[in-house]
Structures are given as structure tokens and as C-alpha cells.
């Protein structure tokens, strides 16, 4: 490694200052605020706050509603990560087989990524709204009692579908790149060794995609955990009951709707811990995760 030498001691600091400033304003300051806020209790009118230490955390951690949110989040994240990755992988494998118009096909696949989460949510809501949704009527014709506004499981299905749909493009891109990095001759050798197309996929392609899959698993978990607020807000608003209220949504609900700032702040501090853990996990393992040469 070569160490860069600067003529001034000040210059390097000036160069990184904008980045530091942005981090400070948009991360450290609000994070610090949340941390401070999570140790305060406001009175009912918001006039006065008192320092209460970890009391907020204790209450949140023993709150059945919060424990419910954890369960909802786990189900929602797992389903979303699984479906968005499985469908993207399937489409990427199919796209590999397309000979003519491959670029056009891929471009089409990438579009949903450009749609904002809330808009994506609205789109799915319009399609599946029980009273005016385009696809609600056919569903009922099929004998399904479709009513996501009352049925929690159906509501979950709908938000998972919307959240997965939006993430498929992203995963698709990575899977296509991952597939292209697998030498053709490996699959040809397997074909000659007697493996059927299905077997080639599961014994050669899939294991060799492991680094991509692992990376996407982390990215998709983070996405499902933290970036799906817009979709849930647009489609179900956390309901019916609390059946689609994820951790992030609960932070919003408690803080901005119910104005319980202390609880809300304590929850966001916990969330922050989760993000940091996930990121650390990714950095630690993704770099040295299976590297073939």
C-alpha cells in the first residue's frame, strides 16, 4: 500500500468534510436525538419531559403489541425476501434462455424498480381493493372470499406481494449478472456427465450463485425490514387490527399518530441496533464468502 501525502494537515479534513457533514446532519444528529428521546417521558400534553432512563425500553420489550410487531415483521420479511428472490431467480434463468430481444426483455424487467414504494402500494391496492379492485372480482369468482381489509392473512398476502414485486427487478439484475459469471462449459460438462436441466440447476448453477444469493438475502432483509413503510402505509395502514404492523410501522404509529415519543424513540433505537448488526454481518461474511477461481 502506498500512503498518500498531503502538503497540508488541513487539506484531508477539508476533503472529507462534506461527507462528514452529511453524515452528521442526517445520521448522527437524529440518531443522537432518538437516543436521548428514548430516555425521556413526555407528559400527556407534551409540555414537559422527564428523564426516565431505560424505563421506555423495559416497557417496549414487554409490550405484547411490540412482540406482535416482531412476529409480523419476521413473517413479512421472510416471505418478501423469499418470494422476491425466488421469482427473480426464476425470471433470470428464463431470461438466459431468451436468444432474440434479450436486452429488451431485461429492460422491461427493470422498470418496476423505478416505481416509488407508495405508488407501488397504490398500484396493488387498486388492483386488489375488495370494492373497486380490478382483480378482486375475478378472485371472488374463483370462490375466494377476498377481503384484505378485514382478513389479516389476506392483508399480509397483499403487502408481501406488493413489496416483493417491487424488489424483483433489483434481484433480477443481480441474478442475471451472477448467472453470466458462471462459465458455460461447466453446464456443458454437467450435461455430458448426464445431468438433466433441473439437476444442472440445483447442483451447479445454484451452488455457484451462492455469493449472489447471500448478498441479496441481506439486502432484501434490510429492504423488507426498513424500506417497505410506504407500501404498508398505502395498502393496509398496518391493519386490519395489527396484522401487518411491522416494527418500522409501529415506530411511526406510536410516535406520529399516538404521540408516544419516548416509546417510539426506544423502538427506533432497537431498530438501529438491528441494522448495525445486519450490516456488520454482511461486511464480515460477504467479503470472504465462497470465492471461486
Amino acid at each position: 500500500m502506498h500512503r498518500a501525502h498531503f502538503p497540508h494537515r488541513l487539506l484531508p479534513w477539508l476533503l472529507v468534510a462534506p461527507q462528514l457533514l452529511i453524515s452528521a446532519v442526517f445520521f448522527y444528529w437524529p440518531a443522537g436525538q432518538a437516543l436521548w428521546q428514548s430516555m425521556l417521558r413526555e407528559d400527556a400534553f407534551g409540555l414537559k419531559s422527564t428523564f426516565v432512563g431505560f424505563a421506555n425500553f423495559r416497557r417496549v420489550l414487554s409490550d405484547p403489541a411490540w412482540l406482535n410487531a416482531i412476529q409480523v415483521t419476521a413473517v413479512f420479511s421472510l416471505l418478501t425476501a423469499f418470494f422476491s428472490m425466488a421469482i427473480a431467480l426464476f425470471l433470470a434463468v428464463q431470461a438466459e434462455k431468451v436468444v432474440r430481444g434479450r436486452a429488451f426483455y431485461r429492460t422491461l424487467m427493470i422498470w418496476p424498480y423505478a416505481v416509488a414504494p407508495a405508488i407501488a402500494g397504490m398500484l396493488w391496492l387498486f388492483m386488489f381493493n375488495p370494492s373497486f379492485g380490478t382483480l378482486a372480482w375475478p378472485l371472488r369468482q374463483l370462490g375466494i372470499r377476498w377481503d384484505p381489509l378485514l382478513d389479516g392473512e389476506q392483508a399480509m398476502t397483499l403487502v408481501v406481494a406488493a413489496a416483493s414485486w417491487k424488489q424483483i427487478s433489483y434481484n433480477f439484475l443481480f441474478f442475471v449478472a451472477g448467472l453470466q459469471a458462471i462459465p458455460r462449459s461447466l453446464l456443458e460438462a454437467a450435461a455430458i456427465d448426464g445431468a438433466s436441466a433441473r439437476r444442472r440447476f440445483w447442483t451447479i448453477t445454484f451452488p455457484l450463485l451462492a455469493p449472489t444469493t447471500f448478498f441479496l438475502l441481506v439486502v432484501n432483509s434490510v429492504y423488507a425490514l426498513f424500506d417497505t413503510f410506504g407500501i404498508i402505509h398505502a395498502v393496509t395502514g398496518g391493519g386490519p387490527g395489527k396484522s401487518t404492523e411491522t416494527l418500522v410501522y409501529k415506530v411511526y404509529n406510536d410516535g406520529f399518530v399516538n404521540l408516544r415519543f419516548g416509546d417510539s424513540a426506544a423502538q427506533s433505537v432497537i431498530l438501529m441496533g438491528i441494522v448495525i448488526a445486519l450490516t456488520a454481518f454482511q461486511f464480515k461474511y460477504i467479503e470472504r464468502k465462497v470465492h471461486y477461481g
Binding site: 456443458e188 450435461a191 455430458i192 456427465d193 448426464g194
Partner: protein, 349 residues
Amino acid sequence: MAEISLRDVRKSYSGLEVIHGVDLEIADGEFVVIVGPSGCGKSTLLRMVAGLEEITAGEIAIGGRVVNRLEPRERDIAMVFQNYALYPHMTVRENMAYGLRIAKLSKAEIEERVARSAKMLELGQLLDRKPRQLSGGQRQRVAMGRALVRNPAAFLLDEPLSNLDAKLRVQMRLQIKELQRTVRTTSIYVTHDQVEAMTLADRLVVMNAGVAEQIATPAEIYDRPATTFVAGFIGSPAMNMLPARGLGDALEVAGQRLAVPAPAGRDLILGIRPEHLHPAGPEEPGFELHVQAVEWLGADAFAHGSLADGTDLVLRTPGKAPVRERDRLKVAPDAAALHLFDAGTGRRL
């Protein structure tokens, strides 16, 4: 074990034909080498036999069974790729056992076969390593082993040695030959290296631009090349090609008359291998060679020069021969070892 036959096999890529009808009959247990310059269609031909490329026209049969419509896995062949194509996430053992497990052989049988092939190829110590922990030569041997364990009807090898250094290449060449002698499996071997081709082949297919120019034993290809292309491609340094004219009972070449009968009035090409030229006696008709460069290789030397009319000529002399740069000497061809080709078609007369 099986014979392989290709009948008027053709291949087109989006309307453009790159293999123009190849006929080839390979006997059971025979070692056939396909040789030719880059881009002539060697790999394409081999991949059609393997079932990795569709056959545009014609017919390929392995062991008497037409395989045109069969998947690679239904053809009972094994292939060694130029880049070895070892499965990077499997150990050497797993690489070798992959095909056997698919064939649903018993555990004991797999174990036994892997051990036997590993022994033949001296892979015993490496069985638990991953491909990335192997040297190029070791990878090559694993690729051979993976083909060998399956005990297929035929081996197909596409430039299996081209990624190795010169010394290892010679070693592996001998090993492959020996291996094929032992197992006697029908083999097709693709290379662009003529030494590999000459040393390995029972029979040689010399290809040029999608056409099999000549199919014969190495000796016959060397002694009686069917076309000027084959004559120039096989042999190093390449055969001397001199424009000539037939005079009925003689041949006019570079202003000289050679007492070689040749059809009167025809434009011809006279081929003389460098080793078939010798210093001419005082009375002997010969060419005046102006030597420009001498390559000394130890056992022998090659003198590169030109004739009075500017035609280039290469002469092989014993290593101790006193030929020097800027020498002028008279050389004469060995009358019994001349090759005559039609100047228009390039075919041997």
C-alpha cells in the same frame, strides 16, 4: 466402446455455413486427431458429436445409433474441455463421482472406480482438494480422470493441453497416448498443434475453413499430402512451394528443367520439403540458393534463402554442415520425394 461416423455433416450459424459437409468414419478404439488453423471449425465439429451444438444437416452416429436428436447425456460420451470445466465447488473426488452418482451406481462401485482412475492418473493425494487448489497440470489430469471414470463409448478432447507449458504438454501427451492404448476407447482429439497431432493420431483429419482437406494416417499425410494446404500446414518448417510449368516429360521451375514428367502446358506447384534438398553435384541440375539466414537447432539447421527469381526456399542440413549466411550454394531436390499440385485447385496430381 463404439465406432463413430459422420456423414456429410454441416453446420450453419444464422445462415452462414461454417462446416461444409464432413465425412468421417472412425473405427472402434481408434484415436483420431482433428487438426487445423484457428477458426477452421474443429471445436464446432467436436461439439456437434458431443451434442452441444445442433447439427444443421447430415448425420452423426455413435456405435451404430444415429444421435442427431439425442441430448448429450444420451450419447454415452465424455469430454475434456480446453479450460477443464471442473466444478469449482466440488472436491476432486466429487468432480469425478458426479457423473457416476447421476448414473445411480452403488457407493462401493463409485468408490472403486474413482480410486482406480485416480491411481492411473496419480491423483490419489489430491482427491479431497478443490480445483482452485490445484496446478494447471493437476487440473488437466482431474479433467481426464472425470472422463475416464465414466467408461464412456467415446472420449472427445478439445485442445486439452493448450493451457499447459511446453514441457508439461509433452509429458501429458505421452500420458494421454498411453492411457488411450490401455483403455482402447474411441477418441476424437482436437488440436492446432501439429506435433501433438502427428504423435497422438492413429488417423489425422486436417481441416481448413470448414472442410476436411485430408483424412489419413500421419505418415501418409506427411508423405502424400492431398492439397497444398495440407502440405504447407503439416511439417516444420513448411514445405517449399515453387511455381512450375509442365513440359510433358519434364518440369520447368525457377528457370531450371527438372527431369520429372508433368502434364504439358499446365501451371503447377512443386512442393519440396526442406529435408529433401541436398547440395547438388557438379553435373547435377539444381537451384542457385542465396542463403540469408541460418537457424541452428543442434541436431540440424535450417538455411533460409532465395533463388535467382526471388522465390524463397528453406533447406535442412545436418547441424554440422558448413552453411553460413550469405553463402551461395547449388541445391538439388531428391527426385523421389517431390510433390506436384495443380496450381489452380491446389490438389495433388
